[in-house]
């Protein structure tokens, strides 16, 4: 059983790595896109197997309750994004925004990114996780700059600098965690393994853990996009190819937050350590309020949804900072729903940008009239992301606010204010985008709508009925998070 589990876990890692190597060598563009999707599909299937069989925890890899759903979610969104990307990139190639050489590079980097994210989720070793997150950052940096326009280069450079600084801080935090563990566990790989750390954390030196967590929160928090460390996020989303924006928002932010969560679990196990809650709550609330107000002044559609990502990451961080079973449960739900919804939105935005030939919102009007499927898809997506019922995000936001209100009414009010402001901004913009007189070109969309609607229907279904198995799993993990 565990051998099969080990095989599946390794497959989740090896398949993307091998496909990446293959894709770097293959010259034909249509085949590379298909191979990309195929590889993503195989990875997804392998990871679903991990639901049923799990390998024993090794010094380097672990599959436990905390990361198994995230692995499946990541590989699923990776697969659907690769399907979207296949048709989208073909169109970009036709338009001449990308050359075939860069296409190979793009696909190889995509699979490398999948590999890195899977490794970060599956890693049992703190240092290995750090290496994986760094690799993910680097691949996305290269992909953001792929169009090689001045704006794209600026965005990629900013992302590189800020991301690297964040990673450097995170590494220092990692070293401090190792130091704290070493005096209790002894030297060697055990002092860096998650399962060992959580088990023995109560004996660690609290002061060292405090300092470590500050560095880790700042470091990985930069990658999550929490204000005031968010400066790279809007540009990176706006200037990179749309599949990359979808993967960034939907997956990479989640992976970084997952790293923070792991460390939060370690901190929670130590009673003398500083409560990580208030820090996370502060950063989360600042992000929500800041992003909500920034949504009003945006002119570029991708940038606007990038700020929406900042806002939602803020909500999730806030939820985990508040702690307690309900808030943690809601946070986990929100991570999943946001991942699916935001990537769906970016799929539709990608279609829109291709059809209209521009990302400026002033040029895009009346989508439901000129492109009904696309327009209504966008409407559905935005309704989901602002948290209107019956979509899933409504439930998670509702749970967060009620559980916060029971403990800290003022914070709940502030959070609700932020959510309402964001709702207003997005609906206002949606009105302009989707309804009214059509403006801009009326070309037909070339890419596939299936991924977008697949995601949205999942969120809708989960909003109405969440399977009990999933509920109990989330509740169990919420309890672990403390």
């Amino acid at each position: 059983m565990t051998d099969l589990g080990a095989l599946l876990a390794k497959a989740t890692l090896l398949v993307p790595a091998c496909v990446a190597a293959l894709l770097a060598l293959f010259p034909d563009d249509r085949l590379t896109a298909r191979l990309n999707s195929l590889g993503a599909l195989v990875t997804f299937l392998a990871s679903t197997g991990l639901f049923f069989v799990r390998p024993a925890a090794g010094p380097f890899l672990i599959v436990d309750d905390v990361n198994v759903v995230f692995i499946v979610l990541t590989t699923f969104v990776g697969f659907t994004t690769s399907v979207f990307s296949a048709s989208y990139i073909a169109h970009e190639l036709e338009q001449g925004r990308l050359t075939p050489v860069y296409l190979r590079f793009y696909h190889a980097m995509y699979q490398t990114l999948m590999f890195a994210m899977n490794l970060a989720l599956l890693a049992n070793n703190v240092g290995l996780m750090w290496v994986a997150v760094e690799l993910a950052t680097l691949t996305t940096v290269l992909m953001v700059g792929i169009y090689r326009t001045p704006a794209a280069l600026e965005a990629a450079w900013k992302y590189f600098i800020l991301g690297s600084v964040g990673i450097a801080l995170a590494l220092f935090g990692t070293i401090l965690v190792y130091l704290a563990a070493r005096s209790v566990v002894g030297e060697g790989l055990d002092a860096m393994a998650w399962n060992v750390l959580v088990k023995r954390a109560s004996a660690f030196d609290p002061a060292l853990l405090n300092l470590a967590f500050v560095f880790l929160l700042l470091g990985y928090g930069t990658k999550v996009g929490l204000a005031p460390l968010h400066a790279w996020l809007p540009d990176a989303h706006a200037e990179g190819p749309t599949p990359i924006s979808a993967v960034l928002s939907g997956l990479l932010l989640n992976v970084a937050l997952f790293a923070v969560l792991r460390f939060k679990m370690v901190m929670a196990a130590n009673p003398g350590a500083l409560a990580p809650g208030p820090l996370m709550v502060t950063l989360g609330l600042i992000s929500v309020l800041f992003a909500a107000f920034m949504l009003y002044r945006r002119h570029d559609i991708k940038r606007m949804f990038a700020y929406s990502s900042i806002e939602h990451m803020g909500i999730i961080t806030f939820a985990f900072g508040m702690g307690g079973p309900i808030a943690n449960f809601a946070g986990l739900l929100h991570m999943t729903f946001h991942s699916l919804t935001k990537s769906a939105i970016f799929f539709s935005v990608g279609h829109i940008a291709q059809v209209k030939g521009t990302q400026a919102m002033a040029e895009i009007r009346g989508l439901t009239v000129s492109h009904p499927v696309l327009g209504w898809g966008l409407v559905l997506g935005v309704i989901t992301i602002v948290g209107l019922p019956p979509m899933g995000i409504f439930m998670s936001e509702f749970l967060i606010i009620t559980s916060t209100f029971a403990r800290q009414p003022v914070l709940a009010v502030a959070l609700a204010l932020g959510l309402l402001v964001a709702l207003g901004a997005l609906l206002l913009r949606l009105n302009g985008l989707a309804f009214g007189e059509p403006r801009g070109s009326s070309a037909r969309t070339e890419a596939s709508f299936v991924p977008m609607f697949a995601h949205l229907s999942l969120v809708l279904a989960a909003g109405i009925y969440l399977p009990p198995a999933l509920v109990s799993w989330f509740q169990y993990v919420a309890g672990l998070l403390g």
């Binding site: 240092g127 290496v131 001045p150 590189f160 450097a168 070493r182 940038r303």
Partner: protein, 220 residues
Amino acid sequence: MDRLVLDVAHLFAGGLVLVSFLLLYQDRMFGLLNTFALHALVVSLSVAWQAYIQLAPHLYITAAIALVVKAIIIPVALHRIIVRLGIHRTIETVVGIGQTMLAGIALVALSILVMLPITAEAGTLAREDLAFSLSVILLGLLMMISRRNAVSQVIGFMSIENGLILAATAAKGMPLVVEISVAFSILIALIVIGIFLFRIRERFDTVDVHALERFRGEQL
């Protein structure tokens, strides 16, 4: 611990902080590159000494990597890039050098005050090295903030990495992952530097990030 052993380690770690200050003081590009080579040299000497004291032979590899890649290859490569691209040879700073140095001293004092009490349980050597490595990291961050030129920002980032190497070797017994991450960082830094500086050069006349700001997209 033997007095001489401690003194030598202290010499290298303190010397690294000193060279970080020298990096802050530079106002010419080539001088900056040479000082960075010295920085990498001191780090590799420090790591080699740690390898000797801790009887951890795998750290010699780290020292060799730091020496070859960061003290030799990267400065030479950057030297060629600067010459070929005609990058500005003087480094513009955001505030004057005096204020930068004062801020640097404040950061060193801060990091010493923060790190020393926390690491009370670790050995003398580890405590010193950790305090100094945090100083080097913070000084590298200061350098990144207070410079306008992309090359000097990248060098600031590489000095942060050197500080991290020092910290990682001070944490005695950290597993092989350290070498992997170190080699990784070096390799990728080299690649990306090359790619980015080249690409930036294709579009602009300078590698001054101020010129990049014209393309900032929407202002905040």
